[in-house]
Subunit: 326 residues, 2 copies
Amino acid sequence: MPKPTPSLELVPQARAGNRRAMARLISRAEAGDDECRPALAELYRHSGRAHVVGITGVPGSGKSTLVQKLAQDIRASGRTVGVIAIDPSSPYSGGSILGDRVRMSELAADAGAFIRSMATRGTLGGLARASLDAVDILDAGGYDVILIETVGVGQDEVDIVKAGHTTVVVSAPGLGDDIQAIKAGVLEIADIHVVSKADRPDANRTVTELKGMLSMDLQPGADIWRCPVIATSVEPKSGIDDLLGAIDRHREHLASTGEIEQRRRQIAGNRIIKIAEEIVREDFERRRHGQFDDLLERVTGRRTDPYAAAVALLSALRENISHEQA
Amino acid sequence: MPKPTPSLELVPQARAGNRRAMARLISRAEAGDDECRPALAELYRHSGRAHVVGITGVPGSGKSTLVQKLAQDIRASGRTVGVIAIDPSSPYSGGSILGDRVRMSELAADAGAFIRSMATRGTLGGLARASLDAVDILDAGGYDVILIETVGVGQDEVDIVKAGHTTVVVSAPGLGDDIQAIKAGVLEIADIHVVSKADRPDANRTVTELKGMLSMDLQPGADIWRCPVIATSVEPKSGIDDLLGAIDRHREHLASTGEIEQRRRQIAGNRIIKIAEEIVREDFERRRHGQFDDLLERVTGRRTDPYAAAVALLSALRENISHEQA
């Protein structure tokens, strides 16, 4: 078997928009392969140009189909588009396996669009890290708009979707009380609300409910972003152009108010802390059957306490890191 | 104002079961006061004798009243009991303020019972740490059984309740579909199921539903713990004695099968990792407007990448830790 191309050698190709090079780097990031770390670092330094849009919604909200139509409209506007679809529940990875994505085949044949599904391989934390690496890769590869699509349940998915500059939350008609239930966690992070399946008779009620909820939060001021509620339908197609218009307006709002800088700092800060927590967890896992086991023995035997054990592990972790850096 | 007694000087009194000393140490642990760390370490070394029982359930399941009745039955069996009630939603702390706890006043006058409510002061992670510190304090103070009561929503609460040797999950009748919703996160951690409000007509249906769900998981084997479903009622009082019987049987099961050792290791391992993550997060917070801010600037300016920034922060972390240890 020929030796695989070193990741660093794939960087110039990825930056030139070579799809195969980008796909290979994403796979390596997904596998958590340390070999690709310097390549990812290099690509990160050449990222920052794309508009990253996080799209989330409850299962059954028709989110995936909406993302497909939105991607087509972005292409029709003359821009390139990348799609990272995150599917934590799927045991598969690599995109083409997911039946759902077959419907994206129209875009798959288009060189100006890049679609990739990512699934949990081990921890959800690892998935979050890998999907943001994938965003960097597509960003450095020159895609104008990058859509991150996740199911909107759980803190980790919320963290992923908050890594976008613009956050779209998709609700389906007839959710009723469920809206209240997910409100606390997800609705409040929306820059744009979408009510999908606008062809259904109860869609209007959901739009009204959402608008009612939002009006309570309204503050005066010209610079305040007023979160729109957009009804969309895929068949017959309607509202997708309004959604793209709102996404573009939000980007202009971020730029003109200078809010974009604050967002970038927030996104970077969250990402750094998440990576650090994952490094800690991975390091502890590696030490199972070694130092960690000895410490566990000492803690359960009451010869030391959990706090001292945590400090000891963190000290050892730092020695490792120093060796790695050296 | 007189200088407060150093925490280490309170340790002998706490170990002798002095309620005032224990209460003060719990307050200091709750405040996240570093001064009490050596005292907590010392008390941890003298803990490990108590049977710790985690009790969780959805809001409105009548969990608090059930815990009160259970605590009275434990006292009636000739044992001492400590109760740590965790109330993340409450802005208050310190137990006596919470109206709910007034009903526990019967026990409050009893020297063989210790009741304490704890509420979020800052992060829920901090609450988890402080409530397990409180369990150690009561354990070292000689209480035979310690009940940890939490609302069963969210990962942090699940983590707290898993810190018990025995986990009781309380369901209320008429939950219907909600049972499915919370099933994944909470039901599976139960060693004992309780259906509260057994006086209500729909209680039987909930018992049947739970039993149906459990029968799917049944594996053969004499050493397997078969999770009982117990219907309880407070007024008229019924089933509480069955619940206490099941708790005692579960403790015997853990001891006779040797499973207790495995649980202790699991509990200690989770606790160490959580503490480490919290140390990392607190350390980053402390460095806001310092090193962290500089790094953020470099990351958003694309002069370094988030992974390198996380590694740099973890490297600096240990310098802090080493100083603390020295």
